[in-house]
Symmetry: C2
Subunit: 438 residues, 2 copies
């Protein structure tokens, strides 16, 4: 073991994940050396405040505020600061110095990935970022390598634990969104400012990364249509449950072929109904899972913990060991292949099934008129189910109508809903939600 080469590892950031990465690098040094063929020496940890309280006790002499100097002297750089700057500048500096970089920075990758990939390829070093999507779950490497001889057609991911926890709570307890969010905050599953999670921004960044790798074409955050879960009500959940569905916030990337044979990719994040027997429907609490459909492999699912310091550290270290092995072996390295050039499609081009809840007058001929309106707009109905309510107070009778359509475009559906609203027999449109997995 004394003959082993030493590789200097610079760690940028020491939050939840960074602290665990540092701990494992120190505690498991011998195991990591045996697996890589080099000693991975943690040369320093760049932080804003060297005296801040950490989750893990670490040697004080490792901390520094001088990230630039630390990066210049490193063979391998782990970036876990988050945010765009100074992370971006530090990563580019590391790559151009010939260091391999491991990052979990989904926001930066979704916003400016191509610049980073190009710098890595130019320098002939690896840039890896397994931790950026779905925490501990090995998903990016399987897409990039294991499925490299296949054609992915669709990716459906539960990639945000906070929203999955909230929706699961709502589904299990019947709680409203605000109460489930408060519970998630109390248990540490949601931050004090939950915007990035509940508005879908976090999932959207991951959707862009998944789409880029799955379709060998670069997709940026602005290509992702994004809807969060703040408008999902307890009534939506109850109605979905009653109809055999569960509501999940899905990151979706799917290849669509138009009638002229032109290909495009729809990348989007929105609350989605899934049949209860779909493998993703069983993903509970703060867990993550990614469901992939590929032409040859068929259906695959990857399941595990999507967040948390220690689980995410596992993904960071997997990337680090893989990069170190390549450094030890020598020879050129390559990060990415973008060999496809499929256009990103606007949300209007996406087609899904829809669930539509309507509060309608209970009078003869209503169903026929609604069905006809759907048909006129080219939206085909799969199931239609009516429940009659009698309001004892007003003695008014109304009916609740639940429609699940076949796949239709956003545009056709929107036009249909507009037209339905104009019918005099419609009291209100109570919900319009997308459905996948049917």
């Amino acid at each position: 073991m004394t003959e082993l080469r030493t590789l200097k590892v610079a760690l940028l950031g020491c939050g939840n994940v960074g602290a665990q990465v540092a701990r494992i690098l120190l505690e498991d040094a011998d195991t990591l050396a045996a697996r890589t063929g080099a000693r991975l020496q943690l040369s320093g940890i760049a932080v804003r405040n060297v005296n801040a309280k950490r989750d893990v006790e670490l040697p004080q002499e490792l901390f520094t505020t001088d990230a630039e100097t630390l990066v210049k002297d490193a063979d391998l750089v782990i970036e876990l600061m988050g945010g765009i700057e100074p992370a971006r500048t530090l990563i580019l500096s590391a790559l151009s110095n010939g260091a391999c970089v491991v990052t979990g920075n989904k926001a930066l990758l979704a916003q400016d990935g191509p610049t980073l990939y190009e710098e890595a390829d130019k320098a002939g070093v690896q840039l890896s970022y397994e931790a950026a999507v779905a925490g501990a779950i090995p998903i990016l490497r399987p897409i990039r390598d294991s499925l490299s001889g296949d054609r992915i057609t669709r990716v459906l991911g539960i990639v945000n634990g906070t929203t999955n926890f909230i929706l699961d709570q709502m589904d299990t307890t019947g709680a409203q969104f605000a109460d489930a969010l408060a519970e998630a905050q109390r248990l540490g599953y949601a931050e004090a400012d939950p915007t990035a999670d509940v508005e879908g921004h976090d999932a959207a960044a991951k959707a862009a990364i998944l789409a880029t790798l799955s379709f060998h074409t670069r997709f940026a955050l602005e290509n992702v249509h994004c809807e969060g879960i703040t408008s999902v009500t307890a009534a939506d959940i109850a109605a979905a449950k009653d109809a055999g569905f569960v509501i999940k916030l899905l990151a979706i990337a799917e290849k669509l072929v138009d009638s002229d044979g032109g290909e495009g990719v729809s990348v989007r994040v929105h609350p989605t109904l899934l049949p209860r027997e779909h493998p993703l429907a069983a993903v509970r609490g703060a867990f993550n899972a990614v469901f992939i459909e590929a032409e040859n492999a068929g259906e695959l699912m990857f399941y595990g913990q999507g967040a948390g310091g220690t689980p995410t550290a596992s993904a960071v270290l997997g990337d680090l060991v893989s990069a170190a092995r390549r450094v030890v072996l020598g020879g050129p390295q390559r990060t990415e292949t973008t060999t496809g050039h499929i256009p990103a499609l606007p949300i209007e081009a996406a087609t899904t099934s829809y669930y539509i809840g309507l509060d309608v007058a209970d009078q003869p001929g209503v169903l026929a008129r609604i069905a006809q309106l759907f048909a006129e707009h080219g939206v085909s109905i799969e199931t239609m189910r009516q429940t009659i309510h009698t309001d004892a107070g007003s003695n008014r009778e109304s009916a609740e109508l639940r429609i699940v359509t076949h796949r239709a475009s956003e545009a056709a559906l929107a036009a249909t809903v507009e037209a339905v609203k104009g019918l005099d027999v419609i009291n209100s449109v109570t919900s319009v939600l997308r459905v996948e997995g049917v």
Copy 2:
């Protein structure tokens, strides 16, 4: 594209999987070239009979019976003949010629993997075999690379679709083993001679491969304790179901630490009770899944199609593209790291929970005597449940007793069962089955 280098690919074997691999190599040539940076030219297909009928129509001129010559001239060799010889000799010949090899030959890997790995490392070329375990599911690469910075503690795999289909049929329809097997044979999920599947031999080879990669230590077939599903009865399934369990044939590899801190790995295949809410319990029909527990990552599951020509071809082509990318990049390659040296443990050292069904006399004090006997043998009872049957004909009353134990060693359990059999109040021991996931 005209500037691209050409890599010659030799295909050995043209069965179910091989025919699909050949089809995809020909049909998707441009996509594969874009992804690898080289044209993958199928230079020939070695078969026993060049005129045999194939699943897929392929150019007749590709077929040859001269595998040796084909291999000598290839940059990449795909071995899908199965069996030990001539596959072993051809793979060794390819590796020593400097060709990367992709194989799905689990029997050969489980029996003689170390010889192959050593030859690959000596030649500085890749030997990959994702298709050997769980068909289309990317599982070996995630274990080898993504989890390379973590410590796997346990692997539970449903890695044989035939037995999962049979057990699922028995669970769903209440059928006996023989009838479920006949149905599996009728539907093409089981072969005419189902021995390798139903006796667990196929799963045992996969268990050895999974254990080797997970624990960085070489485990061979003789280290795997193997029990098949032929003795699982409809009554076992019904009793398990009633108690909230499902029976699965699991390939298990787990690290155990004895009281002196000594580490060992228990590798085994046997019918196992799983709680119905365990993620593996939902794996139905001929699907496969591998559940992994790692120190940092926590619980992970990988799910997909475990067999079939086209899905398995996806795994073969993923390996092929990855190997071709390395050849194009240049530089040394490495196949395997066995850095651990953990001993394989005999089945007697394994500890699991057990489910024990007993037919007992319905008389006072029986439960206490049985409980005491378990305690004397150091086997702790988790739950004990009694159901009384009255046989109207004989007017004899008997009771069915179902016991689930805490984790106990095979040895302690066997001694307990022997002792229980000796009690005069015991009519019979109706089942003894292992339980995981509780």
